[in-house]
Protein backbone atom coordinates (compact mmCIF):
# COMPACT_ATOMS: atom_id res chain seq x y z
CA UNK A 1 0.00 0.00 0.00
CA UNK A 2 2.77 2.41 0.80
CA UNK A 3 4.02 1.93 -2.70
CA UNK A 4 0.68 3.10 -3.98
CA UNK A 5 0.78 6.21 -1.83
CA UNK A 6 4.33 6.95 -2.79
CA UNK A 7 3.68 6.47 -6.48
CA UNK A 8 0.64 8.70 -6.27
CA UNK A 9 2.47 11.46 -4.46
CA UNK A 10 5.41 11.38 -6.82
CA UNK A 11 3.27 11.43 -9.92
CA UNK A 12 1.08 14.21 -8.57
CA UNK A 13 4.04 16.26 -7.57
CA UNK A 14 5.49 15.92 -11.04
CA UNK A 15 2.11 16.76 -12.51
CA UNK A 16 2.09 19.92 -10.44
CA UNK A 17 5.54 20.81 -11.69
CA UNK A 18 4.47 20.43 -15.29
CA UNK A 19 2.91 23.81 -16.01
CA UNK A 20 6.12 25.42 -14.84
CA UNK A 21 8.12 23.17 -17.09
CA UNK A 22 5.77 23.94 -19.94
CA UNK A 23 6.25 27.60 -19.34
CA UNK A 24 10.00 27.39 -19.42
CA UNK A 25 9.77 25.48 -22.65
CA UNK A 26 7.41 27.98 -24.22
CA UNK A 27 10.02 30.69 -23.79
CA UNK A 28 11.66 29.22 -26.87
CA UNK A 29 15.37 28.71 -27.25
CA UNK A 30 16.26 31.32 -24.66
CA UNK A 31 18.76 30.27 -22.04
CA UNK A 32 18.78 32.48 -19.00
CA UNK A 33 21.95 33.46 -17.21
CA UNK A 34 21.97 32.31 -13.61
CA UNK A 35 23.20 34.68 -11.00
CA UNK A 36 24.15 33.69 -7.49
CA UNK A 37 21.42 35.77 -5.81
CA UNK A 38 21.72 36.24 -2.07
CA UNK A 39 17.93 36.08 -1.77
CA UNK A 40 17.76 32.58 -3.30
CA UNK A 41 17.59 29.48 -1.14
CA UNK A 42 16.12 28.58 2.18
CA UNK A 43 18.11 31.16 4.16
CA UNK A 44 17.90 33.78 1.42
CA UNK A 45 18.19 37.43 2.40
CA UNK A 46 18.53 40.74 0.61
CA UNK A 47 21.81 42.59 0.28
CA UNK A 48 21.09 46.15 1.42
CA UNK A 49 24.10 47.71 -0.29
CA UNK A 50 23.19 46.09 -3.59
CA UNK A 51 19.56 47.20 -3.25
CA UNK A 52 20.59 50.80 -2.53
CA UNK A 53 22.80 50.76 -5.61
CA UNK A 54 19.98 49.16 -7.58
CA UNK A 55 17.60 51.87 -6.39
CA UNK A 56 20.07 54.45 -7.64
CA UNK A 57 20.19 52.70 -11.02
CA UNK A 58 16.40 52.65 -11.12
CA UNK A 59 16.22 56.38 -10.36
CA UNK A 60 18.89 57.42 -12.81
CA UNK A 61 18.24 54.95 -15.64
CA UNK A 62 14.76 53.38 -15.47
CA UNK A 63 12.57 55.92 -13.71
CA UNK A 64 12.40 58.16 -16.77
CA UNK A 65 9.99 55.72 -18.38
CA UNK A 66 9.04 53.06 -15.82
CA UNK A 67 6.77 53.72 -12.86
CA UNK A 68 6.81 51.80 -9.56
CA UNK A 69 3.40 52.71 -8.37
CA UNK A 70 3.02 50.17 -5.57
CA UNK A 71 6.16 51.33 -3.78
CA UNK A 72 5.93 54.11 -1.20
CA UNK A 73 8.95 56.11 -0.06
CA UNK A 74 8.46 54.72 3.45
CA UNK A 75 9.15 51.23 2.03
CA UNK A 76 12.75 52.32 1.35
CA UNK A 77 13.44 51.67 5.02
CA UNK A 78 13.86 48.02 3.93
CA UNK A 79 16.86 49.13 1.89
CA UNK A 80 18.56 50.41 5.02
CA UNK A 81 17.73 54.11 4.75
CA UNK A 82 16.83 55.90 7.97
CA UNK A 83 13.85 58.18 8.44
CA UNK A 84 15.71 61.40 7.66
CA UNK A 85 17.19 59.96 4.48
CA UNK A 86 13.78 58.75 3.33
CA UNK A 87 12.30 62.20 3.97
CA UNK A 88 15.07 63.75 1.94
CA UNK A 89 14.54 61.32 -0.94
CA UNK A 90 10.79 61.90 -0.89
CA UNK A 91 11.17 65.68 -0.72
CA UNK A 92 12.87 65.68 -4.12
CA UNK A 93 9.55 64.68 -5.69
CA UNK A 94 6.38 66.66 -6.09
CA UNK A 95 3.03 64.97 -5.76
CA UNK A 96 -0.42 66.30 -6.39
CA UNK A 97 -2.58 66.94 -3.36
CA UNK A 98 -5.80 68.73 -2.72
CA UNK A 99 -8.28 70.09 -3.22
CA UNK A 100 -7.36 73.02 -1.00
CA UNK A 101 -9.82 75.50 0.54
CA UNK A 102 -10.38 77.08 -2.85
CA UNK A 103 -11.05 73.74 -4.51
CA UNK A 104 -7.76 73.75 -6.39
CA UNK A 105 -5.43 70.78 -6.70
CA UNK A 106 -1.88 71.74 -5.81
CA UNK A 107 1.62 70.25 -5.88
CA UNK A 108 3.57 69.69 -2.68
CA UNK A 109 6.83 67.91 -1.86
CA UNK A 110 6.30 64.17 -1.37
CA UNK A 111 6.27 62.67 2.10
CA UNK A 112 7.38 59.19 3.16
CA UNK A 113 3.77 57.93 3.11
CA UNK A 114 3.37 58.86 -0.57
CA UNK A 115 3.71 56.36 -3.39
CA UNK A 116 6.49 56.92 -5.88
CA UNK A 117 5.20 59.28 -8.59
CA UNK A 118 4.91 57.88 -12.11
CA UNK A 119 6.85 59.47 -14.96
CA UNK A 120 3.68 59.77 -17.05
CA UNK A 121 0.19 60.89 -16.13
CA UNK A 122 -1.42 57.83 -17.73
CA UNK A 123 -0.79 54.89 -20.05
CA UNK A 124 -1.65 56.88 -23.15
CA UNK A 125 0.94 59.51 -22.44
CA UNK A 126 3.45 56.72 -21.73
CA UNK A 127 2.70 55.13 -25.10
CA UNK A 128 2.84 58.43 -26.95
CA UNK A 129 6.33 59.03 -25.59
CA UNK A 130 7.64 55.54 -26.32
CA UNK A 131 6.86 54.75 -29.93
CA UNK A 132 3.52 53.23 -28.97
CA UNK A 133 5.01 50.72 -26.55
CA UNK A 134 3.97 50.87 -22.90
CA UNK A 135 6.87 50.64 -20.45
CA UNK A 136 5.49 48.27 -17.81
CA UNK A 137 5.27 49.23 -14.15
CA UNK A 138 8.25 47.71 -12.37
CA UNK A 139 6.81 47.16 -8.87
CA UNK A 140 5.98 43.53 -9.57
CA UNK A 141 8.07 42.83 -12.64
CA UNK A 142 10.30 40.29 -10.87
CA UNK A 143 7.25 38.15 -10.10
CA UNK A 144 5.36 38.87 -13.32
CA UNK A 145 7.92 37.11 -15.50
CA UNK A 146 8.85 33.45 -15.38
CA UNK A 147 12.18 32.99 -13.57
CA UNK A 148 11.93 36.70 -12.67
CA UNK A 149 15.38 37.76 -11.46
CA UNK A 150 17.35 35.57 -13.87
CA UNK A 151 15.17 36.77 -16.71
CA UNK A 152 15.53 40.47 -15.85
CA UNK A 153 19.27 40.15 -15.47
CA UNK A 154 19.61 38.23 -18.75
CA UNK A 155 17.45 40.79 -20.51
CA UNK A 156 19.49 43.75 -19.27
CA UNK A 157 22.78 42.21 -20.35
CA UNK A 158 21.25 40.55 -23.42
CA UNK A 159 21.46 43.38 -25.97
CA UNK A 160 23.57 42.36 -28.95
CA UNK A 161 23.99 43.03 -32.62
CA UNK A 162 21.35 41.13 -34.51
CA UNK A 163 22.55 38.17 -36.54
CA UNK A 164 22.86 38.98 -40.23
CA UNK A 165 19.88 36.75 -41.05
CA UNK A 166 17.55 38.87 -38.95
CA UNK A 167 16.09 42.18 -39.95
CA UNK A 168 15.31 44.41 -37.00
CA UNK A 169 12.78 47.15 -37.85
CA UNK A 170 13.09 50.74 -36.65
CA UNK A 171 12.21 51.21 -33.01
CA UNK A 172 12.99 47.58 -32.19
CA UNK A 173 16.16 46.16 -30.70
CA UNK A 174 17.74 42.73 -30.71
CA UNK A 175 17.91 41.00 -27.35
CA UNK A 176 18.85 37.38 -26.87
CA UNK A 177 16.81 36.91 -23.68
CA UNK A 178 13.56 38.34 -24.97
CA UNK A 179 10.97 36.00 -26.43
CA UNK A 180 11.12 36.51 -30.20
CA UNK A 181 14.41 38.41 -29.73
CA UNK A 182 12.88 41.76 -30.66
CA UNK A 183 12.16 44.23 -27.93
CA UNK A 184 10.85 47.79 -28.05
CA UNK A 185 13.00 48.96 -25.14
CA UNK A 186 16.33 50.41 -26.24
CA UNK A 187 19.37 49.15 -24.38
CA UNK A 188 19.11 50.89 -20.99
CA UNK A 189 22.48 50.02 -19.46
CA UNK A 190 25.82 50.37 -21.20
CA UNK A 191 28.12 50.36 -18.17
CA UNK A 192 29.29 53.38 -16.15
CA UNK A 193 25.81 54.92 -16.52
CA UNK A 194 25.77 55.61 -12.82
CA UNK A 195 28.41 56.66 -10.34
CA UNK A 196 28.36 54.56 -7.22
CA UNK A 197 29.41 56.13 -3.95
CA UNK A 198 30.72 52.81 -2.58
CA UNK A 199 32.98 52.05 -5.51
CA UNK A 200 31.18 48.86 -6.57
CA UNK A 201 31.52 47.73 -10.15
CA UNK A 202 29.56 49.81 -12.65
CA UNK A 203 29.97 47.33 -15.49
CA UNK A 204 26.84 46.33 -17.40
CA UNK A 205 26.75 43.15 -15.32
CA UNK A 206 27.24 44.99 -12.03
CA UNK A 207 24.55 47.58 -12.67
CA UNK A 208 22.14 44.96 -14.01
CA UNK A 209 22.62 42.69 -11.01
CA UNK A 210 22.06 45.58 -8.60
CA UNK A 211 18.90 46.85 -10.24
CA UNK A 212 17.56 43.30 -10.48
CA UNK A 213 18.23 42.83 -6.78
CA UNK A 214 16.29 46.02 -6.08
CA UNK A 215 13.40 44.95 -8.32
CA UNK A 216 13.18 41.57 -6.64
CA UNK A 217 12.82 43.33 -3.31
CA UNK A 218 10.15 45.61 -4.77
CA UNK A 219 8.13 42.62 -5.98
CA UNK A 220 8.55 40.51 -2.86
CA UNK A 221 9.37 42.81 0.06
CA UNK A 222 8.41 40.19 2.64
CA UNK A 223 10.81 37.53 1.32
CA UNK A 224 13.21 37.67 4.27
CA UNK A 225 10.57 37.34 6.96
CA UNK A 226 8.80 34.69 4.91
CA UNK A 227 11.89 32.50 4.72
CA UNK A 228 12.77 33.11 8.34
CA UNK A 229 9.34 32.02 9.54
CA UNK A 230 9.45 29.21 7.00
CA UNK A 231 12.57 27.67 8.49
CA UNK A 232 10.99 27.71 11.94
CA UNK A 233 7.67 26.36 10.66
CA UNK A 234 9.27 23.51 8.72
CA UNK A 235 11.42 22.63 11.72
CA UNK A 236 8.40 22.63 14.04
CA UNK A 237 6.26 20.59 11.67
CA UNK A 238 9.03 18.05 11.06
CA UNK A 239 9.24 17.42 14.79
CA UNK A 240 5.46 17.31 14.93
CA UNK A 241 5.41 14.74 12.11
CA UNK A 242 7.93 12.51 13.85
CA UNK A 243 6.15 12.86 17.20
CA UNK A 244 2.72 12.09 15.77
CA UNK A 245 4.10 9.08 13.94
CA UNK A 246 5.65 7.75 17.15
CA UNK A 247 2.45 8.48 19.03
CA UNK A 248 0.49 6.65 16.34
CA UNK A 249 2.79 3.65 16.65
CA UNK A 250 2.39 3.74 20.41
CA UNK A 251 -1.40 3.89 20.30
CA UNK A 252 -1.70 1.27 17.60
CA UNK A 253 0.74 -1.08 19.28
CA UNK A 254 -2.12 -2.96 20.91
CA UNK A 255 -4.24 -3.39 17.79
CA UNK A 256 -2.19 -5.99 15.95
Amino acid sequence: MRKLIFATMVSLMSAVGMPGAALAASGGDVTLLKNDWSFAGIFGHYNKASMQRGFQVYLEVCAGCHSMKYIAFRNLADLGYNEAEIKAIAAEYEVQDGPDEDGEMFMRPARPADLMPSPYRNDNEARANNNGALPPDLSLIAKARAHGPDYLYSLLVGYQDAPASMEVPDGMYYNNAYSGNMIAMPQPIYGDDVEYADGASTSVEGLSADVTHFLMWAAEPKLEVRKRIGVAAVFFLSIFLIMSYLAKRRIWADVY
Binding site: M1, A72, R74, F240, R250, V255
Partner: protein, 187 residues
Protein backbone atom coordinates in the same frame (compact mmCIF):
# COMPACT_ATOMS: atom_id res chain seq x y z
CA UNK B 1 0.62 -3.69 6.63
CA UNK B 2 -2.18 -6.08 7.44
CA UNK B 3 -0.65 -8.90 9.42
CA UNK B 4 -2.26 -12.00 10.76
CA UNK B 5 -4.19 -11.08 13.85
CA UNK B 6 -5.84 -14.34 14.79
CA UNK B 7 -4.58 -14.22 18.36
CA UNK B 8 -4.43 -10.48 18.95
CA UNK B 9 -6.45 -8.88 21.66
CA UNK B 10 -8.52 -6.33 19.88
CA UNK B 11 -9.14 -3.26 22.03
CA UNK B 12 -12.13 -2.29 19.88
CA UNK B 13 -14.79 0.12 20.90
CA UNK B 14 -14.79 -0.39 24.63
CA UNK B 15 -11.89 2.02 25.04
CA UNK B 16 -9.59 0.02 27.29
CA UNK B 17 -5.80 0.33 27.06
CA UNK B 18 -5.84 3.71 28.80
CA UNK B 19 -2.08 3.75 29.50
CA UNK B 20 -1.32 4.06 25.79
CA UNK B 21 -3.30 7.28 25.59
CA UNK B 22 -1.52 8.84 28.52
CA UNK B 23 1.86 7.97 27.18
CA UNK B 24 4.28 10.90 27.18
CA UNK B 25 4.76 10.94 23.43
CA UNK B 26 1.01 11.01 22.85
CA UNK B 27 0.39 13.87 25.24
CA UNK B 28 3.36 15.77 23.82
CA UNK B 29 2.03 15.33 20.28
CA UNK B 30 -1.38 16.72 21.14
CA UNK B 31 0.30 19.56 23.05
CA UNK B 32 2.41 20.41 20.01
CA UNK B 33 -0.70 20.46 17.89
CA UNK B 34 -2.30 22.93 20.29
CA UNK B 35 0.80 25.15 20.33
CA UNK B 36 0.92 25.14 16.54
CA UNK B 37 -2.74 26.09 16.28
CA UNK B 38 -2.23 28.95 18.73
CA UNK B 39 0.76 30.21 16.73
CA UNK B 40 -1.33 30.26 13.57
CA UNK B 41 -4.11 32.19 15.29
CA UNK B 42 -1.97 35.27 15.89
CA UNK B 43 -1.48 36.41 12.26
CA UNK B 44 -5.19 35.87 11.65
CA UNK B 45 -6.03 38.21 14.53
CA UNK B 46 -3.23 40.72 14.04
CA UNK B 47 -4.27 41.38 10.44
CA UNK B 48 -7.18 43.42 11.83
CA UNK B 49 -4.77 45.92 13.42
CA UNK B 50 -3.93 49.02 11.36
CA UNK B 51 -1.88 48.16 8.29
CA UNK B 52 1.47 49.75 7.48
CA UNK B 53 -0.03 52.24 5.01
CA UNK B 54 -2.69 53.28 7.53
CA UNK B 55 -0.05 53.93 10.18
CA UNK B 56 2.09 55.88 7.72
CA UNK B 57 -0.77 58.25 6.95
CA UNK B 58 -1.22 59.10 10.60
CA UNK B 59 -0.19 62.76 10.34
CA UNK B 60 -1.85 65.79 8.78
CA UNK B 61 -0.39 69.24 8.07
CA UNK B 62 -2.59 72.31 8.38
CA UNK B 63 -2.04 75.96 7.51
CA UNK B 64 -3.62 77.82 10.42
CA UNK B 65 -2.81 81.36 9.27
CA UNK B 66 -6.08 81.77 7.41
CA UNK B 67 -8.36 81.15 10.38
CA UNK B 68 -9.78 84.51 11.45
CA UNK B 69 -10.10 85.33 15.12
CA UNK B 70 -13.29 83.79 16.50
CA UNK B 71 -13.46 81.31 13.62
CA UNK B 72 -12.85 77.57 13.63
CA UNK B 73 -12.00 74.99 10.99
CA UNK B 74 -12.40 71.23 10.94
CA UNK B 75 -9.68 69.05 9.45
CA UNK B 76 -9.44 65.31 9.12
CA UNK B 77 -6.83 63.39 11.04
CA UNK B 78 -6.85 59.57 11.11
CA UNK B 79 -10.39 59.67 9.76
CA UNK B 80 -11.63 61.79 12.64
CA UNK B 81 -12.52 65.52 12.73
CA UNK B 82 -10.08 67.83 14.46
CA UNK B 83 -11.36 71.23 15.62
CA UNK B 84 -8.94 74.11 15.29
CA UNK B 85 -10.29 77.32 16.83
CA UNK B 86 -8.66 80.73 16.71
CA UNK B 87 -9.89 81.99 20.08
CA UNK B 88 -10.75 85.56 20.90
CA UNK B 89 -9.13 87.21 23.97
CA UNK B 90 -12.53 86.96 25.64
CA UNK B 91 -12.73 83.20 25.05
CA UNK B 92 -9.20 82.74 26.37
CA UNK B 93 -10.05 84.80 29.44
CA UNK B 94 -13.15 82.73 30.12
CA UNK B 95 -11.20 79.52 29.77
CA UNK B 96 -8.73 80.76 32.38
CA UNK B 97 -11.32 82.30 34.66
CA UNK B 98 -12.10 79.10 36.51
CA UNK B 99 -9.90 76.82 38.53
CA UNK B 100 -9.17 73.85 36.30
CA UNK B 101 -8.52 71.63 39.28
CA UNK B 102 -12.16 71.68 40.25
CA UNK B 103 -13.50 70.32 36.98
CA UNK B 104 -14.68 66.78 36.33
CA UNK B 105 -11.54 66.13 34.31
CA UNK B 106 -9.15 68.53 36.07
CA UNK B 107 -6.93 70.41 33.64
CA UNK B 108 -5.76 74.01 33.27
CA UNK B 109 -6.33 75.73 29.94
CA UNK B 110 -2.62 76.39 29.48
CA UNK B 111 -1.94 72.67 29.63
CA UNK B 112 -4.22 72.22 26.62
CA UNK B 113 -2.72 74.76 24.21
CA UNK B 114 0.70 75.55 22.80
CA UNK B 115 -0.30 79.11 21.86
CA UNK B 116 -3.25 80.53 23.79
CA UNK B 117 -4.98 81.78 20.64
CA UNK B 118 -4.98 78.38 18.96
CA UNK B 119 -7.00 75.54 20.42
CA UNK B 120 -6.63 72.15 18.72
CA UNK B 121 -8.88 69.33 19.90
CA UNK B 122 -10.18 66.07 18.45
CA UNK B 123 -13.82 66.76 17.60
CA UNK B 124 -15.16 63.55 19.04
CA UNK B 125 -17.32 63.61 22.15
CA UNK B 126 -15.67 61.51 24.85
CA UNK B 127 -19.04 60.07 25.80
CA UNK B 128 -19.91 57.83 22.85
CA UNK B 129 -18.12 59.30 19.87
CA UNK B 130 -20.52 61.79 18.26
CA UNK B 131 -19.19 65.02 16.71
CA UNK B 132 -20.17 68.01 18.90
CA UNK B 133 -21.73 71.18 17.45
CA UNK B 134 -20.12 74.61 17.77
CA UNK B 135 -17.81 74.90 14.78
CA UNK B 136 -20.07 77.01 12.61
CA UNK B 137 -21.16 80.50 13.59
CA UNK B 138 -24.82 79.58 13.88
CA UNK B 139 -24.28 76.40 15.84
CA UNK B 140 -25.52 75.77 19.34
CA UNK B 141 -22.38 76.07 21.44
CA UNK B 142 -23.75 74.91 24.76
CA UNK B 143 -23.90 76.64 28.13
CA UNK B 144 -20.17 77.37 28.19
CA UNK B 145 -19.84 78.76 24.67
CA UNK B 146 -17.54 75.98 23.52
CA UNK B 147 -19.16 72.92 21.98
CA UNK B 148 -22.37 71.04 22.57
CA UNK B 149 -22.87 67.39 21.76
CA UNK B 150 -26.40 66.84 20.45
CA UNK B 151 -26.40 63.10 21.06
CA UNK B 152 -26.59 63.10 24.84
CA UNK B 153 -26.17 66.73 25.83
CA UNK B 154 -22.56 67.20 26.86
CA UNK B 155 -21.40 70.83 27.20
CA UNK B 156 -17.76 71.76 26.58
CA UNK B 157 -16.17 75.11 27.40
CA UNK B 158 -13.92 77.34 25.30
CA UNK B 159 -11.02 75.10 26.21
CA UNK B 160 -12.86 71.95 25.13
CA UNK B 161 -13.23 70.78 28.72
CA UNK B 162 -16.32 68.89 29.84
CA UNK B 163 -18.50 71.04 32.09
CA UNK B 164 -21.93 69.45 32.03
CA UNK B 165 -23.47 66.25 30.68
CA UNK B 166 -22.50 62.59 30.56
CA UNK B 167 -19.06 62.79 28.91
CA UNK B 168 -16.35 61.62 31.34
CA UNK B 169 -13.32 63.52 30.03
CA UNK B 170 -12.30 66.68 28.15
CA UNK B 171 -12.05 66.72 24.36
CA UNK B 172 -8.74 65.10 23.54
CA UNK B 173 -5.85 67.30 22.47
CA UNK B 174 -4.02 65.48 19.65
CA UNK B 175 -0.23 65.51 19.50
CA UNK B 176 0.83 68.37 17.21
CA UNK B 177 3.69 70.74 16.67
CA UNK B 178 4.37 73.96 14.79
CA UNK B 179 6.38 73.28 11.65
CA UNK B 180 6.52 77.03 11.07
CA UNK B 181 4.61 80.04 12.35
CA UNK B 182 1.69 79.19 10.14
CA UNK B 183 1.70 75.41 9.73
CA UNK B 184 1.02 72.78 12.33
CA UNK B 185 1.45 69.06 11.92
CA UNK B 186 -1.04 66.90 13.76
CA UNK B 187 0.11 63.39 14.68
Amino acid sequence: MVKSTSNSKSPSADGVQEPARRDFIVVATYAMGAVGAAAVAWPLIDQMNPAADTLALASTEVDVSKIAEGQAITVTWRGKPVFIRHRTPDEIARANAIDGAELRDPQEDEARVQRPALLVVVGVCTHLGCVPLGQKTGDVKGDYDGWFCPCHGSHYDTSGRIRKGPAPTNLEVPPYNFLSDNVIRIG
